[in-house]
């Protein structure tokens, strides 16, 4: 099944070659045609249950889709969140909310691929967010500022984390946060401003000024928002790890091919151990990371707790892809810097994953504290 998915996604991606992504990268433009193709072929509805019109597949299938996109030289970041952002709605939304939104999301008519959590002064420290939602009759009035909200300009709906009870009035600092579904098409007082970055990634600053969000759009229980978004974050980490694997495999294939073809001093450069060993090492790291990604996805699909595995998958895969990227660039020498080779673009793109959706240090702190029982370091 996943093999069949991989084959078809690869065939789809073959219609969007390196030149397509190079052109977008130069213009910092959104891959509208690619996203439309993936949407129309139903791949972004992989995780939505069949009763809502999706494919009802597990995270392993979604991981296969995104890995294949990245392995083909493309980038899934423009639409990968359409796969998993709905998970919070699916697992914690009420029947009316699910019936209202999931079928249209499955059909690709409604985009839910923006998730406002991070703020200028609160990134990893999620409980310190300053965006407030205050109940007033049938609505919550939202005020605050979100940063690095990817795809906010290319999404109809946005999942928003806001504080509904001040931090000083809750027992645990993660209490008092709530999740809302904000309809960006209708909301008054929302300002979305793209942030230009090192890579072509539609990330934005989103400002909320007295935005009235219907109380009916509260997802799950008020004050329990942090718990509601946690399982979604595990899914995100596993899928981003799958994208890293795809990147790593693309870099390794590209580096190996170039090392075989490029002849210097009368022999292929890949005949030199100084060239071939880093590629072999990156390959070994990638295969090891792939096992962890598969393990994390299997645990997620079995409804098991997968926090450590999801985090380790992201850590190992992002480091493997970065090692592969660096090796690929070095193997190509000067040509690696030429945009036509796609290496420099993928190199910049894959660097992101040691920072987002969670930084490497935070994963290490999590493993040290929650798995190894070491004292909390932050």
């Amino acid at each position: 099944m996943n093999d069949e998915i991989r084959r078809s996604v690869a065939a789809l991606c073959a219609r969007f070659p390196g030149t397509y992504w190079q052109d977008l990268d130069a213009r910092r433009a959104y891959p509208t045609d690619f996203v439309a193709a993936l949407t129309q072929a139903g791949y972004l509805a992989a995780l939505i249950p069949e009763i809502y019109g999706g494919a009802g597949l597990g995270l392993g299938a979604a991981a296969a889709i995104l890995e294949e996109v990245h392995k083909s030289g493309g980038n899934g970041a423009a639409c990968h969140a359409q796969l998993y952002t709905m998970g919070t709605l699916l697992r914690h939304g009420n029947t009316a909310q699910k019936d209202a939104y999931l079928p249209a999301i499955a059909r690709g008519e409604l985009r839910l691929q923006a998730f406002g959590v991070t703020e200028p002064d609160a990134g990893s420290d999620t409980s310190s967010i300053a965006t407030r939602a205050t109940r007033s009759g049938d609505v919550y009035i939202v005020n605050g500022r979100k940063l690095w909200t990817s795809r906010a300009g290319h999404s109809d709906l946005m999942l928003l984390l806001a504080r509904t009870t001040p931090k000083e009035r809750v027992a645990k600092r993660t209490d008092g946060l709530s999740v809302f579904l904000v309809d960006l098409r209708r909301a008054q007082g929302v300002t979305i401003a793209p942030v230009p970055t090192m890579i072509n990634h539609a990330t934005c600053e989103v400002v909320f000024e007295d935005v009235a969000v219907p109380a009916a759009n509260l997802i799950g229980e008020e004050g329990k928002g942090f718990c509601h978004i946690l399982d979604g974050m595990n899914a995100e980490r596993i899928l981003i790890a799958a994208e890293c694997l795809g990147d790593a495999r693309w870099f390794i294939a590209k580096a190996s091919q170039y090392a075989k073809d490029r002849v210097v001093f009368g022999r292929p450069i890949g005949q030199n151990q100084g060239v071939q060993f880093p590629i072999a090492r990156a390959f070994a790291a990638t295969e090891a990371a792939a096992l962890m990604v598969a393990q994390a996805a299997a645990l997620f699909d079995a409804n098991g707790a997968c926090g450590p595995e999801a985090n380790m998958a992201k850590l190992l895969a992002s480091e493997a892809s970065w090692a592969a990227a660096d090796t690929c660039l070095q193997t190509h020498g000067g040509f690696g810097f030429a945009t036509a080779f796609d290496v420099e673009r993928k190199f910049r793109e894959t660097r992101l994953y040691q920072v987002a959706p969670i930084s490497t240090n935070l994963i290490l702190a999590y493993l040290a504290e929650h798995v190894l029982g070491l004292p909390r370091s932050y």
Binding site: E4, I5, R7, S8, L12, A41, G42
Partner: protein, 249 residues
Amino acid sequence: MKVLVAVKRVIDYNVKVRVKADGSGVDLANVKMSMNPFDEIAVEQAIRLKEAGVATEIVAVSLGIEQCQETLRTALAMGADRAIHVHHDGELEPLVVAKLLKAIIATEQPGLVIVGKQAIDDDCNQTGQMLAGLLGWPQGTFVSRLKLENGKALATREVDGGLENVELTLPAILTVDLRLNEPRYASLPNIMKARKKPIEKRTPAELGVDPTPRLKTLKVSEPPKRLAGVKVDSVAALVTKLKQEAGVI
């Protein structure tokens, strides 16, 4: 009208083929396998005929080892309605394939058979023609354009020196060429649906065909490495070399 398409499982076109060390054949271990690209074009054409309301049912057939069912699943995910797998573990030569297809056609009674012009592994380019011969049906080979009307197939063939238009009375055999269409990729819902479509299993014995190869492969070897050329400094030197060394003029 029922359309029958034959699909072959071959080494993926992106894979660099390696010959086994003992020269007994091509190394297939851990090599990516895919549907023969020309057969994908055949499946695509059948689907387009169905979408145009000309075809009513598409039956995909593959012959060979168990894993041919993966190739059939691809055809089903693209849009074929059902599939037949003729299971055989050994080598199948074009004449045997043609005889097996003939036996299936006898029960299926399709109005049109579409196959790829050749498989990219052995490049035989024989099955379609042999099948037409065995059945006594008209054939249109290397088809790059196709129109069906009034029980006839109007096919444009890519031949040396240009294009040839032929009119065939159905039922007929078509072998299709690269420029006929661009095959679609399967959508996720169609991959899911394909899992529920039936694959009927048959054997050469049931179909009354002896699959024993008539040819014996003596040795498979890689083509010789291309040697570096030489530069000549004048036309006269070139002519001398062509005359004396190459012996071509």
